[in-house]
Symmetry: C2
């Protein structure tokens, strides 16, 4: 890591709790590799103090931006001066750039990271049919990114149907040309099957969809990084499906975050 | 430097401009040597935004403290929740500790650093007569620290007499047992002679006191670090005086800052 001087630019990550975050390690390594005189540090802030801290960060002239994670992704939207249309529709922001005049510009890169990861793996979502398990925070971001990428149709399957309906409605407003349906646990007939729930994170979790309906012509993609091969991916592999791990989503998203927050030398 | 993780503790330095500060290099080296999982970074903030930034820093739970320098040393006093009696009398704070509950505790360590530097050089100010040139920020801090150290008497010489009178009055309130007088440029008859003005920083500066009156039994101390040997020190040395450089003041103060802000492993 470069020595910190009065000229070193500052980036941060806002979280509560903060101990577990891995973004400082990842983005400091990226900056180091690129020769950026900058550092990303953890800012530990509770939900009730978020507005006060963010006002302070606007006043910090050498702060270039910050990553936002649990539990602040929703609350930060209204604290930004400018938010992309997609982030507003999703209702969440995870990356903020501070302009020279102090204006905070927010973006949501979870979904873009997922799509970039697919593409990096040689899977182009444009023109293909997608089955998406989940309608929570990650699923929202991914659904919008898939719609943006021009999938031929998208089916959302979620245990709580109202959340899927709500997501469907917001997608329809922003991407009227993409047919969106509410699905069951049956993924058959879709070219790409995506798990965007947290099922698979813990041992003994039930499967997020009916794996007995998977066929070898399907691609099954995961957002869970740990374990690397979830029960879903193991079942899919056994059935001859092409599988796509959760890790590329993060790696690609870190690149997108660095670009959005202008981590340049 | 240690890798930054979610567990790394944060310290800062508040300044405007920020580019020239050297505290990050010095205190990060100190933390590194002591095995502290912490980092001190520059926070660039203008005078009109100081209150907003400080409110934000109170909300940052992993922030342990910050150094304060030009132009914020006076304004920060009223933004602290608690300030030492001496710092309040001086009217300036240069080091702030953030307690776990967010309370900010301020202290002024410029003078204590100077006195610690003298002691490190084997010069004990207690019981000795002191001639002090200057009545500005640094001189104020040093005058209070010398009074605290128990000098036998203190004479203040300043071009603008009203500032010296004001300092004398505040010293009398807090250290009624220390005789304080207003002096001329003549340092004769004092055991320790201190330059606490900025004269000597630039080539061609006039001397801060009448060096022709110095005698070999006197100690002449400087606060200017660069050049290491000022014109005053050169003249004093030529007249057989013992001289004390400006550098130990900073080195000792960095130790005091680290202690006050609890930079422990």
């Amino acid at each position: 890591m470069t020595e910190i001087t009065g000229r070193t630019a500052i980036w941060g990550i806002l979280a509560d709790p903060i101990h577990q975050v891995k973004t400082p390690q990842a983005l400091n390594a990226l900056m180091n590799a690129r020769g950026v005189d900058g550092i990303l540090i953890p800012f530990h802030v509770g939900a009730s103090d978020l507005d006060t801290l963010v006002a302070g960060l606007k006043a910090m002239r050498n702060l270039k931006g910050f990553v936002v994670t649990v539990p602040h992704k929703t609350a930060i939207v209204d604290l930004c001066d400018d938010v992309s249309e997609q982030a507003r529709a999703i209702g969440a922001v995870n990356t903020v750039r501070r302009e020279v005049d102090g204006r905070l510009v927010g973006e949501m890169l979870d979904g873009a990271g997922f799509v970039a990861g697919l593409r990096q793996g040689g899977i182009k979502p444009g023109g293909r049919s997608v089955f998406l398990a989940g309608a929570g925070g990650a699923a929202n971001a991914i659904a919008f990114a898939l719609a943006e990428a021009g999938v031929s149709r998208l089916t959302i399957a979620n245990r709580t149907r109202s959340k899927a309906e709500d997501l469907k409605q917001r997608l329809a407003e922003h991407y009227p040309s993409v047919p969106v349906e509410i699905g069951t646990t049956d993924p058959s007939g879709y070219e790409i099957v995506v798990n965007a729930t947290s099922l698979g994170l813990k041992e003994g979790d039930s499967l997020p969809l009916d794996v007995t309906r998977l066929t070898p012509d399907q691609i099954v993609a995961e957002i869970i990084m740990q374990p690397e091969t979830t029960a879903l991916l193991a079942e899919a592999k056994e059935r001859g499906c092409r599988i796509h791990h959760g890790k590329p989503m993060l790696a690609c998203q870190l690149e997108l975050m660095a670009e959005f927050m202008r981590m340049h030398p």
